[in-house]
Structures are given as C-alpha cells and as structure tokens.
C-alpha cells in the first residue's frame, strides 16, 4: 500500500537492531485524499531524511519500505518516500 499521511510526532530509540542506526523514525497518521484520518498511526522510517512534524507525506508500507533506506533491507515496515507539496481531489 502506498498512501498519504501526516507526520504527527517523532520517535527516539537508542537500543535498536542493526540497520536502524541513524534512521529517523516518525509517527505518521495515514490520511485519505480528503485529508481525513484513516486507521491508526504508524511509525515510519524517513526515507527522504527531510520530513518534519506536520508535513504531508507519501508513505509506502510492507517490504518495499526497507528499500527507502540507504543500506537496503533494514527492519522497517513503513517508510516516508516523499514530502507532498499538493494534493488534488478530482472527485469533488
């Protein structure tokens, strides 16, 4: 699944599995295209290394998330793959 989300917080973890060192972890609330929350928030690795709280972001879930990090195949299941500048809803 690739979906829209909003960064709502950060996570700091000191004791982590190898492959997660230096990876920014952010809390992301998934949204639909009308910017309404959908489901529960997730912890996502920041694949663009520039996402900040309150940013709209694109999130990829599942195994593909690990490919967003520099040495591939770190143990993550959600990753931010883009900072979203604009969303257009063509059904309104």
């Amino acid at each position: 699944m690739m979906e829209l989300g909003r960064v709502t917080g950060t996570v700091v973890a000191t004791t982590i599995y190898e492959g997660l060192e230096g990876v920014r972890l952010l809390i992301v609330q998934p949204l639909d295209r009308k910017l309404q929350p959908r489901g529960r928030p997730v912890v996502a690795a920041d694949g663009v290394a520039m996402a900040a709280p309150d940013d709209l972001v694109a999130v990829v879930a599942s195994r593909e998330a690990s490919l967003a990090l520099p040495p591939p195949f770190g143990p993550v299941d959600h990753a931010i793959v883009g900072i979203v500048d604009a969303v257009e809803d063509w059904t309104r």
């Binding site: 699944m1 295209r33 694109a58 690990s66 490919l67 793959v81 900072i83 809803d89 063509w90």
Partner: protein
C-alpha cells in the same frame, strides 16, 4: 491486480529517486460492481490515465520495480492499464 478509479493526484518535489519525474495518482479501489471500497492508494502512473478513468492497479513491489526499471526503488503500486470494459460471467 486491483481495479480502481482515478480520483486525484499528489505532487511531491522532495521524494525518493524512483518517483522523480513520475506522475502520482490517487486511485479509489473498486469492487467488481464498480462501487468504491472507500480506500484510496497512491500509485505511479505509467500509462497516462486520466481523471475518472477505471484503471488496473498493480499493488505488488517486485512487479512495480520491474515496470519502473528501478531494482532498488521503494515503490509498490503502479497503474498499469486503463480498463475499457469489465464483463462478469454469471
């Protein structure tokens, strides 16, 4: 693969390389009656699908990376076809 309807677009300047110069669409997933399931996904467009068109969405990473020729790309969903007609056998 899944069936969906093109419902919008996403613009992202700061993104992973696999999305650069690609069109990102919101696709509303549909059931076989053509009704919206209420779930929209972001998918990379490689066929030039337009607003409101019914499309075929590939939601699987290995296939998506093959389509985009990006072996290390963190991508999972790609719009791979525009559906002209759906026929359900009785």
């Amino acid at each position: 693969m899944k069936i969906g309807r093109v419902a919008g677009t996403v613009v992202s300047t700061i993104c992973v390389p696999v999305f650069e110069n690609r069109k990102l669409l919101f696709v509303d997933l549909l059931d076989l009656d053509g009704k919206e399931t209420g779930t929209d996904v972001i998918a990379v467009d490689v066929v030039g699908a337009g607003a409101g068109e019914m499309v075929l969405v590939l939601d699987e990473g290995n296939g998506a990376r093959q389509v985009l020729e990006a072996p290390d790309g963190p991508v999972r969903a790609v719009v791979v076809g525009v559906i002209d007609e759906l026929e359900l056998l009785p």
